[in-house]
């Protein structure tokens, strides 16, 4: 099977507060109740300056998109408002799509999400894409208790309806729902892209979410389940889309890759592995009770998850590389691995996590530059015969 001709590479940043205290391991969780006395805003400012510079570099070396997301009450992620971070990216980048993947809409009024996302789309001249996550269980512990976990899914579903109506139906309109009602739903602005920017649902593999994405005409993205299970979700998504009389585009599903590139496999492992492990061991350390607040999943789903091992915070390299798209290697090695993952997933969209955990700036710069200059062209060449070098090299040349 050949690679798709329109392979896209998006650079995703978690923007972690990667400066945990030495004794952080004595805390059961780095989410929800990890004390914020460990947050130093002066260090926070330095992290932002550095991380934004990395995003700008990713734009310049030719990544097709820049992906931000949102979490709360954790050093895992310093983007408590993903839209605010995305907004800051608008004037300092020029070509990459700005992807908010995304704000858990249950944490906001959905009309406000519709407005903010439309605002971003207009400010950026139509450079945005959005993904809609339910929000991890942890977000439900650290936000207002009026947000009841057992109603999260129904509320989420209705919130999306509000947003789509605000974007696609001429306002003012009315909305009468179980969770939200509007007398005048009338978003100023409306999106720059018509009828709307490309949207995804982010899921963890539940059939209802896959069907929802297909029904809404959204793409589908899946996180935190093993590769083989992810591939099954893609099949289900495509089958459902087919059933609805459409054909899913190659970039309607995306895969996430965690990679570190160096000149040789040995060098890449020596330089990259520790930071990827740091991410899994420390940034993802969450006890089961925070992962699943009461009512957040059905009893049947809870039974499945309770029977499986809690992988959060207990990484070992072999399991990680067997279940997840994690690779450290030479450009050849990394390109080959990604080629295989792209082919088996039948996708044209690769989201690249090239900064992880406590990776220092120099390694991040080296990694994303080598990825853009050495890995992407190899894959584009494999996908597009006779089309010369890939876009990144051309853009790098233009930018340098």
């Amino acid at each position: 099977m050949a690679l798709p001709p329109d392979l896209q590479f998006y650079f995703m940043h978690f923007m972690p507060y990667a400066d945990l205290p030495e004794d952080h391991a004595k805390y059961e969780s780095t989410w929800v109740d990890f004390p914020n006395k460990f947050y130093d805003p002066v260090k926070g400012k330095k992290f932002y300056d550095r991380y934004f510079a990395e995003m700008v570099l990713a734009d310049r070396v030719g990544f097709d998109g820049l992906v931000v997301n949102e979490h709360h009450s954790s050093p895992y992620n310093m983007m408590q408002s993903a839209t605010m971070v995305a907004s800051a990216l608008v004037p300092i980048t020029s070509r990459a799509k700005i992807c908010v993947f995304g704000t858990p809409i249950n944490l906001q009024y959905p009309n406000r999400v519709a407005e903010e996302y439309a605002l971003l789309d207009v400010m950026s001249g139509g450079r945005t894409e959005f993904a809609f996550p339910l929000g991890t269980g942890m977000e439900y512990w650290s936000n207002a208790t009026s947000l009841i976990p057992s109603t999260a899914r129904a509320r989420f579903r209705e919130g999306i309806d509000v947003i789509l109506q605000a974007w696609e139906q001429e306002g003012p309109s009315t909305f009468d729902g179980e969770f939200y009602s509007y007398r005048y739903l009338n978003s100023w602005p409306t999106p720059y892209q018509k009828p709307r920017p490309k949207c995804y649902i982010v899921g963890t593999g539940s059939p209802q979410t896959i069907e929802l994405a297909a029904e809404l005409g959204f793409g589908y993205s899946v996180v935190f389940i093993p590769i083989q299970a992810q591939l099954k979700t893609f099949e289900a998504y495509r089958a459902k889309t087919q059933q609805l009389g459409r054909t899913a585009a190659a970039d309607d599903v995306c895969i996430m890759v965690m990679a570190y590139v160096a000149d040789t496999d040995e060098e890449a492992l020596a330089e990259g592995k520790e930071h990827i492990l740091y991410y899994f061991d420390n940034m993802m350390r969450v006890p089961p009770r925070f992962l699943i607040p009461p009512g957040y999943v059905t009893n049947e789903e809870f039974r499945k998850r309770a029977a499986a091992a809690n992988v959060h915070g207990t990484a070992d390299w072999d399991t990680l590389t067997a279940n997840s798209r994690v690779i450290c290697g030479s450009p050849e090695t990394v390109a080959k691995a990604i080629e295989g993952w792209v082919e088996e997933a039948g996708t044209s969209r690769v989201i690249c996590n090239l900064h992880l955990g406590d990776m220092p700036h120099w390694k991040t710069v080296k990694n994303l530059t080598l990825f853009a200059e050495e890995v992407i062209p190899r894959l584009r060449k494999a996908g597009v015969s006779g089309n010369g070098a890939g876009r990144p090299a051309a853009v790098t040349a233009a930018a340098s």
């Binding site: 208790t145 009841i148 057992s150 006890p287 607040p293 809870f302 039974r303």
Partner: protein
């Protein structure tokens, strides 16, 4: 000692299991947010009354009702159930969450409730002695918080907990969250407790770590005819811990 007879009823579409024992005046016992120790501890009441223990929707053997979002919904559910059982007047006992339900029921149905016994009741906001947030207590800390007398769990819960047990606790915790995730009390309850004009007993374990016994005074201040009994050395599961607590209730209801 009498034993329970089990009935399975359809209450407005929700499977509701009702345990009954004994004969005489009906005593309805509304249980708390956990059912892991069963209800045999209540059987001595069946020697003097017709004891009825309905299992709340969302708990133990009863079915789920995702539409329940408040204690008031439980009150309406039990009005339906009492109609089905043909019970008009009753003596009402409630423990913890069940105490909150019982107080709410009695506020709305003053004339039907002849006597009311509230055991470590939840539902009242007492800022100076707040109710512990059950949701935030790590699973391993829960049992010791419920009682110092851990022997009461022997033979009743698997040790170590098995998957069925863990799933059952998740389900009950989710059911409790439907009515108590936002607030573990009813902010308006204090305004209406004056309607509890029937003889009312407030019973508490002095060492209750979930709902402090100091809350008993707040209930007593707001209820016109309340008598308070605080049993020393007992925790939140005061009824399971020693038989004398149930004897106090039996004497009060007679």
């Amino acid at each position: 000692m009498p034993s329970f007879e089990r009935q399975e009823l359809d209450v407005n579409g929700v499977k509701t299991v009702v345990l009954s024992a004994g004969s005489g005046e009906p005593v309805v016992f509304l249980h708390g947010a956990g059912t892991m120790t069963g209800f045999d501890f209540a059987l001595p009441l069946a020697e003097r009354f017709r004891l009825i223990v309905p299992i709340h929707p969302g708990y133990s053997e009863s079915g789920d009702d995702p539409s329940i979002s408040s204690v008031h919904d439980y009150v309406l559910h039990y009005l339906d159930l009492l109609d089905q059982l043909g019970i008009d007047s009753l003596r009402l006992v409630g423990h913890s969450l069940g105490g909150w339900m019982a107080a709410s029921f009695a506020i709305e149905q003053t004339k039907r409730v002849e006597k009311l016994a509230l055991v470590s009741p939840a539902g009242l906001r007492v800022p100076e002695s707040p109710t512990a947030d059950l949701f935030s207590i790590p699973p391993e800390a829960l049992l010791p918080a419920l009682t110092e007398n851990l022997e009461i769990f022997e033979g009743k819960i698997p040790n170590p907990p098995d998957l069925d047990f863990i799933v059952a606790r998740y389900r009950e915790s989710a059911s409790f969250a439907q009515v108590a995730w936002e607030r573990i009390y009813d902010p308006k309850l204090s305004k209406w407790l004056h309607r509890l004009t029937m003889p009312t007993l407030i019973l508490w374990g002095a060492k209750d770590q979930i709902i402090p016994a100091a809350q008993a005074d707040a209930w007593a201040r707001l209820i016109p005819e309340a008598q308070v009994k605080v049993l020393p050395d007992r925790g939140h599961l005061v009824l399971e811990e020693t038989p004398d607590a149930l004897a106090v209730i039996g004497d009060f209801l007679s």
